[in-house]
């Protein structure tokens, strides 16, 4: 269904979407790249001399940056580990037949719809507060001294909060994949004498591998830019113990007014995200042909 007429119409119809996205992507990114080579602060925006890789060397030698880089990776990997393993387990559970499947499904999905600032504050105050928080009170009731989560284990606290928000996403997608596994396959394996564990290992898990990859890649994209959860809980602290790159870059710009350094940090974040994006785009592209 294509004539010259429809083809040119199609091009015209696509143009606005393509153009706005192109502008949105190219213009600010080019500016960021440009700023990252300038000694540019908001205190002295008139003089912005070119300093080449100066900001990058500054950034890469800054212990805060290195800590932020490490924190970013720990945050991503930690959340992925919890959500993928937890997601598989919960998905397996929800795939069973039990009373109230639909209601439990709703309960499990709910955290995904909670806005990040709410999730973070609820956890910080009502769950993790050493005195009044539910966790602390539960622990003290069995004689374990309460932990000051935000001060003693700030990064772990954030990992827990973020993992809670993303566990539903992983569960939902893995469950969808699980439900497309035909009962026949499992039954055939059972006839061949496979036990529950080997069915899981040799049939269910390989079947879910694709969905697991998708979960990992998509979550990574979002997890690399965790921001609000840090802002309303630890503000990156104590020190820089829970600062990630996104938070650091925003802080460099808004609090310290160092546009040059912040831009260099932004570019580093882009590079990090691109490494993941390449794999994700390939995976989805392959699926598009099928």
């Amino acid at each position: 269904m294509a004539t010259l007429h429809t083809k040119s119409a199609a091009r015209a119809m696509m143009a606005p979407a393509v153009i706005v996205l192109l502008v949105w992507m190219a213009v600010p990114l080019a500016m960021t790249l440009y700023f990252s080579t300038l000694n540019y602060t908001l205190y002295n925006p008139i003089s912005t001399p070119f300093i080449g890789f100066g900001n990058y060397t500054y950034f890469l030698n800054d212990p805060t940056f290195l800590a932020a880089l490490a924190n970013t990776l720990i945050l991503v990997i930690g959340v992925l580990a919890i959500t993928v393993i937890g997601g598989i387990l919960v998905a397996l559970l929800l795939d069973q037949d039990f009373y109230g499947v639909n209601i439990v499904r709703l309960l499990v999905i709910a955290p995904f719809f909670v806005m990040p600032t709410v999730a973070a504050l609820v956890w910080k105050n009502m769950m993790m507060n050493p005195v009044y928080g539910v966790i602390g009170q539960l622990l003290s009731s069995v004689g374990i001294p309460p932990v000051d989560w935000m001060t003693n284990v700030p990064l772990l606290s954030i990992i827990i909060i973020v993992a809670w928000q993303w566990l539903p996403f992983a569960t939902l997608i893995l469950l969808t994949a699980l439900q497309s596994l035909s009962e026949d396959q499992k039954e055939a394996a059972e006839m061949d004498g496979a036990g529950a564990l080997s069915i899981f290992w040799y049939i269910t898990l390989p079947h879910m591998s694709r969905a697991i990859t998708v979960v990992i890649l998509i979550q990574t994209i979002f997890l690399l830019s965790i921001y609000a959860e840090i802002l309303v809980t630890t503000q990156g602290g104590p020190g820089s113990q829970s600062t990630n790159i996104t938070y650091l870059v925003a802080q460099q710009a808004t609090s310290y007014g160092d546009i040059g350094a912040a831009s260099a940090g932004g570019i580093v974040a882009v590079i990090l995200a691109n490494i993941v994006a390449i794999f994700l785009v390939r995976l989805i592209g392959k699926n598009l042909d099928a």
Binding site: M1, A2, T3, L4, H5
Partner: protein, 334 residues
């Protein structure tokens, strides 16, 4: 009204040529059937005429005016699709009225035409239903209704019956033929089923790989196929094609003889053979006979019941004046 001429029309998708240069004249009021095996380019040709695809080169004229560049809506043609392509969110009435609404016709006239179409197509009872609530045959009628209300210059049908079951297909075939009798509007009808082609057409266009193999009335194609392809495609069961020594006797590379043109006997005849399979339909008897004249079984048709069975010996005699002769290139010798 309803004269369509194709001049040197050619269509390629990228580098793949689907329709090499082709000329075709369709006269006003004709019922023309494009027939050919699946994938030979029938739909593509029809869509070129409709304007749903651009020609790569060549010219399409409708009623004397050049329509090559016209968008589908401006060509004054109506199309009935294989999938019916009804608007699922509209009632039958709205479906049929849609083209009229697009033409900004006034409400009263739209209603008049829709009611008339619905009545002639026996759709009155379903007029407020959605297509999803209709049977295949009813949907087909709605699609036809949507086409006729526009009073187009020509109707284009793309395998309209192939989604219907066999019994319904025969009925709809008749209905479409009657419609043509009544409206006398040009119809171009695409099918891969040669029975449909033979029963409905004034003029059949046999296509193979985008090429026109032969154009003619059903009887012309039946009695004098221009080449082996047409000979094999038209007629059911297929014509027996025999090569080798037997063909040589007729100074041809291949001879063809239709199953109904072989005389059958249990006692004497030109060719001896053994019955391999016999099909007794009551009205006809079809035999597949193994015979030394040809490596493949020869198909024979006898009127009524012919009481032989697998393993019996029979004798076949071709009617000399019904033998088709073909040269080495597959072209008919006259």
């Amino acid at each position: 009204m309803g004269q369509i001429h194709l001049e040197k029309v050619r269509k390629a998708f990228g580098d793949v040529v689907i329709i090499p240069e082709l000329d075709l004249q369709i006269e006003d009021g004709e019922f023309v059937v494009f027939v050919g095996p699946s994938g030979c380019g029938k739909s593509t040709l029809l869509r070129l005429i409709a304007g749903l695809e651009d020609v790569t080169s060549g010219k399409i004229t409708i009623d004397g005016t050049d329509a090559t560049e016209l968008p589908p809506a401006k060509r004054g043609l109506a199309m009935v699709f294989q999938s019916y392509a009804l608007y699922p969110h509209m009632s039958v009435r709205k479906n049929i009225a849609f083209p009229l609404k697009m033409a900004n016709m006034d409400k009263a006239e739209i209603d008049r035409r829709v009611d008339y179409a619905a009545k002639t197509l026996n759709l009155d009872a379903y007029i407020d239903r959605r297509p999803g609530q209709l049977s295949g045959g009813q949907r087909q009628r709605v699609a036809i209704g949507r086409a006729i209300v526009r009073e187009p210059k020509a109707f284009l049908f793309d395998e309209p019956l192939s989604n219907l079951d066999a019994a319904l297909r025969v009925g709809m075939r008749l209905e479409i033929s009657e419609l043509h009798q009544r409206l006398k509007t040009t119809m171009i009808y695409v099918t891969h089923d040669q029975v449909e082609a033979m029963t409905m057409a004034d003029k059949i266009v046999v296509l193979r790989a985008g090429n026109i193999e032969q154009v003619g009335s059903p009887l012309e194609l039946y009695s004098s196929p221009r080449n082996l392809f047409v000979a094999g495609f038209i007629g059911s069961p297929r014509m027996n094609l025999i090569n080798g020594a037997e063909a040589g006797k007729y100074k041809a590379d291949t001879i063809g003889i239709r199953p109904e043109h072989l005389r059958l006997s249990t006692s004497e005849g030109r060719w001896t053979g053994t019955v391999k399979v016999s099909e007794h339909l009551g009205s006809d008897t079809f035999l597949h006979v193994e015979s030394p004249v040809h490596e493949e079984p020869v198909t024979v048709r006898a009127d009524g019941e012919f009481p032989v069975h697998s393993g019996d010996t029979v004798y076949l005699t071709p009617q000399e004046d019904k033998i088709h002769r073909f040269d080495g290139k597959g072209l008919a010798l006259r």
